[in-house]
């Protein structure tokens, strides 16, 4: 089986391996999601604490629809970024990006590293723009997306709900993939 991976270095010199998710990652991904606090899982669209949800993902991997990229440290998953694509229609050149980073690996530059990789891959896939939705009060996430070439485009007030049921604001961030490579 092909092994597609590369290594990156975090601010504290930890070496992480970055690679696309494969079928065999189901168990490690279940562990990863179970280790995350409720606050972080609020941004995930599915109930990933349900093992069957994660196993169905792993069984039905389709990189053309959703491209999942994992960061691992000593074979333990520490971050997951997904690039969601639309095959047809007026949004076929767009990709939606979602990222979850384990709390113990936050503020080490891992999110920026993963997002830079996904922007590069988006260029490979022929995508022109990337779209991300970030909670307006999540300063770390906003900084990571900005570092990877995303810029703030709109704030939608009271759009989503936090775990206590209070409405919260969402920031829409866009990355122009072609302009990102301008030097």
């Amino acid at each position: 089986m092909e092994i597609v991976a590369k290594q990156g270095k975090l601010k504290d010199s930890t070496i992480v391996t970055i690679r696309p998710m494969v079928k065999g990652d189901a168990d490690a991904l279940v562990k990863f999601f179970k280790s995350l606090p409720d606050d972080l899982l609020l941004f995930v669209r599915h109930n990933v604490r349900d093992e069957s949800v994660v196993r169905i993902w792993a069984e039905n991997l389709d990189y053309k629809r959703v491209f999942p990229l994992l960061a691992t440290v000593e074979n333990k998953i520490v971050a997951d970024v997904t690039l969601h694509r639309v095959p047809f229609g007026w949004k076929r050149h767009l990709g939606k990006v979602r990222i979850v980073v384990s709390p113990e690996y936050q503020k080490l530059g891992l999110a920026t590293l993963m997002l830079n990789e996904i922007v590069d891959l988006a260029a490979e896939f022929g995508l022109e723009k990337l779209w991300a939705e970030v909670p307006l009060d999540s300063r770390g996430a906003i900084a990571a997306f900005r570092n990877a070439g995303f810029s703030c485009k709109a704030v939608i007030e009271d759009l989503v709900k936090d775990k206590e049921g209070r409405n919260a604001d969402i920031l829409i961030m866009i990355c122009d993939v072609a302009a990102h490579y301008d030097q």
């Binding site: 092909e2 991976a5 590369k6 990189y63 891959l121």
Partner: protein
């Protein structure tokens, strides 16, 4: 005089052979190669040997540089990184040395410039009007006598023009030859031989006839299945085989 401009072969020997056959039929005098002979696909050594054999005037692409430059390689995404590391082991010493010696830019007979990405880097792109405008400004400042620059890297055919008033635009392309206005400046991309990204799987290149100031784009079919099978057999990422068929 007829010049063939080819770019971004990316280790696809099947596509390169198809292009060279067409070039032969078109009775081309000289071949200019805009870089990225290696990377992504499964025949790096064969492609470099073929380019050396046909004595093409060549410049260095970012993947050619990355064969030697570890730092550049680490900045590649997972797929490109995997392929260039594999290429490194497949290339002969002579062919690696050939890649190492390639210049970043060539001024050909004082008539035109050949580069991979832009005039300043083999890893930056010309896809947006502001990027084209910036390149025209550099040409006006640093290469006053030259009004044509051939570039690659984007894997898409393109012609940008700058008229005497300074208006920059991208021309619409079709199968007809394009006659260049000697008073205007041009940035011209022949597309990619080995990994086209314009939703057409065929290998792209162009011919340039300086006396008539004429360029003609070509897209030629090649043995796509064979190229894909080689990628899979080499255990390179299967995505690299799939994308060839889709032209992305």
């Amino acid at each position: 005089m007829k010049i063939a401009i080819i770019s971004d072969i990316h280790s696809n020997i099947e596509a390169l052979h198809a292009v060279l056959r067409k070039i032969d039929k078109e009775k081309v005098d000289v071949i200019v190669n805009l870089g990225d002979i290696v990377g992504y696909n499964a025949s790096p050594d064969e492609c470099v040997t073929e380019i050396r054999k046909c004595e093409a005037i060549s410049v260095s692409g970012n993947h050619d540089s990355a064969v030697h430059d570890l730092t550049a390689r680490e900045s590649f995404n997972v797929f490109a990184n995997q392929a260039i590391r594999w290429s490194h082991f497949k290339l002969s010493k002579e062919n690696k040395d050939f890649l190492k010696k390639l210049p970043l830019l060539a001024i050909v007979w004082d008539r035109f410039i050949a580069c991979h990405g832009t005039l300043k880097s083999n890893d930056s792109y010309i896809v947006k009007p502001f990027q084209a405008r910036r390149m025209f400004n550099i040409m006006r400042k640093e290469y006053q006598r030259i009004n044509i620059c051939f570039f690659g890297h984007t894997h898409r055919q393109a012609v940008w023009s700058r008229d005497v008033r300074g208006k920059v635009k991208q021309l619409k392309l079709n199968e007809n030859p394009i006659h260049l206005n000697p008073e205007e400046m041009y940035l011209i991309n022949p597309g990619s031989v080995g990994q086209p990204r314009q939703n057409d799987w065929r290998a792209s290149f162009l011919t340039f006839e300086p006396e008539e100031a004429k360029i003609t784009f070509y897209s030629v079919p090649y043995d796509l299945y064979k190229a894909q099978q080689k990628i899979l057999k080499a255990e390179l990422p299967s995505f690299l085989a799939e994308r060839l068929a889709e032209g992305v």
